[in-house]
Amino acid sequence: MPEKPAAPLIHARGLTKRFDTLTAVDSIDFDVAPGESFGFLGPNGAGKTSAMRMIACVSPVTEGTLRILDLDPATDGARIRGRLGVVPQQDTLDTEISVRDNLVIYGRYFGLSRAESRRRAGELLEFAHLAERAGDKVEPLSGGMKRRLTIARALINEPSILLLDEPTTGLDPQARHLLWERLYRLKQRGVTLVLTTHYMDEAEQLCDRLVVMDKAKIVAEGSPRSLISEWSTREVTEMRFPVGVQETLGDRLDGIGDRIELLPDRVLVYSDDGEAAATAVLGRGLVPQTVLVRRSSLEDVFLRLTGRSLVE
């Protein structure tokens, strides 16, 4: 693991991006330390991708401060990009050339010699489980293989920071888990990861620290665990009542747990002891059809911050 110097690799204050009248990112502050894995979590259109594009030095900052590797993207964009690895949301692989050539030519973009680029391409193909497909064209590869190739390509310059914009969107569960495992290995070895996602499980798996974005602003920040303890309870009891009963519940559950959410199809009770909450409900003579006690997740935090419970 690299030493942790005081200076953050990414430093943003009042960072803003406007397109004509639309404000995509509205004055956000954050820092990313070396070796950290940092996430932007938020619904579609929250401004995650715009923030990522500014960090990737391909989108000029409208307002505010952004320093990456202690350099200014406005004047040293190409220099910073030389130290980044980028996994974009939409594949940008060259479908007309082979898997290996995709890596080798990318290495050339970073100024590597042909021999060095070929050597690294060989190693990365092993890492991405693509060695057997090295000579194949990109087009027939599965979605998971293409993503792994994109990640391998992003590593060819041994980047200081790896940027991943929704890395597993559209993949099947097997492909997602293989990708997470590869990313986790990178993280263990000290690569600084910055990713965006709207998958809660992905954020919990991969992020040391994350910010929740909603409507172009940061609405919460912390580790997955601290966000859960700050914005939710330890456990959630989910109950479904027979048709007819659900509508009459009204205030009959008041006082149970820390917080109660009445949804059209079920009732959520937030508390530190889900079993006890369920027992208390039964004690009031209410018999749910199904009861599920589960640990609170980032999804609960997310919905509370960006979704339905903000409305109440």
């Binding site: 690299p2 200076a7 000029p60 350099l71 939409q90 973009y109 890492f127 590593l155 980047p159 990178l186």
Partner: protein
Amino acid sequence: MAVADVPGLPQPHRTGDAVPRPSPLAGLRAAYEHQWLLYVRTWRGSIFGNFAQPVLFLLAMGIGLGSYVDKANSAAMGGVPYLEFLAPALLVSTVMQGAVFEATFPVLAGFTWVRRYHAMFATPLTPFAIAFGQLAWIATRATLVGSIFLVVIVLFRAAATPGIIFSVPVGTLTALAFAGPIAAFMSSQRDTSAFNSIWRFGITPLFLFSGTFFPIEQLPAIIRPLAWLLPLWHGVDLARSLALDTAWQDPLVQVAHVVVLTTFAVGGAVAMFVMFRRRLER
């Protein structure tokens, strides 16, 4: 499963002044190299086409049609065999068409469906390197196609004088006069709808009425200025004058041709760079 070791590990984190500066020239070279990589996959079919097209055109137009023209003993052709009149002009027109193709389809693909340019821009490559890497490749292709055409012309004994050699650089200059402006325009497009219009209403009429097959003096007087405005006629007339060794008769006209072609080429290249930057930096 055995744990694969992790390549691509970061170097010790360097920040500020310690971050290396990438070389702009290396970037330009890498963007150009990518084009070669794409070309070598299909070069056999492509080279065959580059030979076959001039052979067919020179057979049908130069020898087939030409035998009638020569019988009529037309003075409009300057008293030379039609094949010799046609050959340098056809070279320039063919090279121009190839360059237009290279400036439309691959450019649109680079921005929209293959997204090659976006991949390049995620690296130290600048819009400058991306635009001029593409343009340098178009110039290379033009020179290659022109050289093959030249070989065919010589094999057909269609060369009036050794001045036919100049048709190749004139062809490349004409190619650039078209490629820059068209690539600039294509980089503002989201789909192929403009693509067909460019060919149907632009390139094909231009090919037919820019003095390649007959002197533009044969065109109605109202249309003639149109041929002067667009760069193809300038390339055709320049290449023909050099090939037939008549350039010395009116040297100022030849200089004007070069000036027009260069203006289009340089203006187009600048426009292409500006448009590429606008599309990439959003």
